[in-house]
């Protein structure tokens, strides 16, 4: 379970540009829940993910993962239980390393990186199996550098990399936004499959309301650092994309967007 309690986040404290994004923000996410987060630009969606992952500090509050407050835990240690996929497909992998090298790195997450050989031949079949499930033909390109692949292919590899070892939370930061519609669909279906198969708790920020409604067990809509809509279960089932769009338009008009 992930709990955010009384979170306060102020950008540029003490400066004229000071901006309080979260003021006493609370959120609880149950294990195994697939949460979609929507909202206009600047509503705090990505900040929320960054706060959970630890790459921006908070002024006040508690972040509790499985009963443990992780506010003081450094970013890299939090990733022991967190996997993350970014919007920019080049952020989740090493461009000058081959697919095989990238997967070998990811496969070793959580263990010591000592002086044993990095590439484990006995795992290659497993990697190929994972890659072939993408249907992108990447299983034959194990020795190709990641930088030579297209954005969609790289994003697919990033997704596999982030979920190759057991994790509890999968953080998806607009991970289909930079992809063409067909590739986005492929990645989204794959995401859903991985989340369900591995029983992960997922948080997905997206601007695609259809994806949010279709794949999320729970939908959050954010505006100016507040959750203005939180629907799950039957309530979520009865929420159509049009409903979402209507609320979205309403808050956008209020903001003057």
């Amino acid at each position: 379970m992930l709990e955010l309690k009384n979170i306060t986040k102020i950008y540029n404290p003490g400066l004229v540009t000071e901006m309080c994004l979260f003021d006493d923000f609370n959120l609880t996410i149950e294990d195994g829940q697939f949460v979609s987060i929507v909202g206009s630009n600047g509503s705090g969606k990505t900040s929320l993910l960054n706060i959970i992952c630890g790459n921006i500090p908070i002024e006040q509050g508690e972040i509790i993962i499985n009963g443990k407050n992780i506010v003081k835990m450094p970013e890299h240690k939090r990733h022991n239980s967190i996997g993350r996929v970014y919007q920019n497909s080049s952020m989740g992998s090493c461009p000058n390393l081959t697919i095989l090298e990238n997967l070998s790195l990811a496969d070793h997450k959580g263990k010591t990186f000592g002086l044993s050989w990095a590439l484990n031949k006995s795992r290659i079949d497993y990697y190929k199996e994972q890659l072939s499930s993408l249907g992108l033909g990447l299983e034959d390109k194990l020795h190709v550098k990641l930088g030579a692949l297209s954005g969609g292919q790289r994003q697919a590899v990033s997704l596999i990399m982030s979920t190759l070892t057991p994790i509890d939370f999968l953080i998806l930061d607009e991970h289909t936004a930079a992809l063409d519609p067909k590739t986005a669909e492929t990645i989204m279906i794959l995401t859903d499959k991985i989340v369900r198969e591995k029983k992960l708790t997922a948080m997905m920020v997206t601007h695609n309301l259809r994806y949010a409604a279709e794949y999320g067990d729970r939908i959050l809509m954010m505006d100016k650092g507040n959750i203005i809509l939180d629907r799950s279960g039957k309530e979520k089932e009865s929420t159509s994309i049009d409903d979402l769009l209507n609320i979205f338009t309403k808050i956008s008009i209020e903001c003057g967007n």
Binding site: K77, G83, S90, C94, E101, G110, T112, F113, G114
Partner: protein, 302 residues
């Protein structure tokens, strides 16, 4: 000195300095960290060596001591950069500047190692193996063995999990964070390994030329960068050539260029000027080549 001796000597120089080039390859090419510590850790290795040799310490043991102190210098730069959050260039400058005094403190002043004192070229295992070869060729063989041995060790290291993590941190450090590893620690490891190699190079140079001078570090980082960029530019079209091989050849070619300039009558005082101009030429050529390959690949696609 006849032309063959001159050539042998130049290659020997290139081979000794190849260790420094490997180091710059690690910091600049792999870690993407322009490490200026080199200008201080190179004479550090030489200073320690000059003092220890003069005090009749075993020359092989001397190599190890120089290696260890070089590692320490790298550790300091890494610590300043990573834990104290100082920019890469500045962290290197701080350590380099500090080392200048430390080197003088160690050596006292510029030192000459007496002819009667044994070095790795005149004692121990290398002497047993190659003792009957004339000294100038013996130096070539020994430095070749050392340069190739370290190339092999590094190549193997890059294939280990730790080595792969090092390559990953320079390529995209976000990935290392997502692997739940502290990217800072990985960078510190890289800087430590690199500066250990630099000091080792300094130690061998000192054993070869039997002297230490406090200014011998000046321009070494530029030399290292030049060989790395030259080596990797020359071999860019051959994808299968390893980076370490490329900089090894780069180091020899670079020393040869300088030697040719000297032989043609260039005053030694202008050496650093030539070094920096040569470096500039290599950089500009590298840019030019990058542009042309881009155009070619575009045409190929069209």
């Amino acid at each position: 000195m006849n032309i063959i001796d001159l050539a042998v000597n130049t290659i020997t120089q290139g081979l000794i300095y190849a260790l420094l080039s490997y180091a710059v390859y690690i910091t600049y090419k792999i870690l993407d960290f322009p490490d200026l510590t080199v200008d201080g850790s190179f004479p550090l290795g030489a200073a320690i060596t000059a003092v220890l040799l003069t005090n009749n310490v075993n020359p092989y043991l001397t190599l190890l001591v120089a290696l260890a102190f070089g590692a320490l210098a790298g550790l300091v730069t890494g610590f300043i950069h990573v834990r104290l959050n100082i920019r890469a260039l500045l962290a290197g400058i701080i350590t380099m500047t500090g080392l200048f005094s430390i080197n003088l403190q160690i050596a006292g002043s510029n030192l000459i190692v007496d002819r009667t004192i044994d070095t790795i070229f005149t004692s121990g295992i290398f002497n047993v193996l190659f003792g009957n070869i004339p000294l100038i060729y013996r130096k070539l063989v020994i430095t070749l063995i050392i340069a190739l041995a370290f190339k092999l060790i590094l190549d193997l290291y890059f294939k280990t999990k730790n080595g792969l993590l090092l390559r990953a941190v320079g390529d995209n450090d976000l990935v290392v964070t997502m692997l739940a590893k502290d990217k800072g620690t990985v960078k510190i490891i890289g800087l430590t390994i690199a500066n250990a190699l630099v000091a080792l190079s300094g130690s061998i140079v000192c054993q070869e030329q039997r002297s230490f001078s406090s200014t011998m570090g000046t321009g070494q980082v530029v030399f290292g960068l030049a060989t790395v960029i030259m080596g990797t530019t020359i071999f860019k079209r051959f994808g299968f050539v390893k980076g370490t091989t490329a900089v090894l050849v780069g180091s020899i070619v670079y020393k040869a260029c300088i030697q040719v300039a000297l032989t043609l009558g260039l005053p030694a005082n202008l050496l650093k000027l030539v070094t920096s101009i040569l470096f500039l030429v290599i950089l500009v050529y590298g840019n030019y080549q990058q542009k042309t390959t881009k155009v070619v690949s575009k045409n190929a696609r069209a």
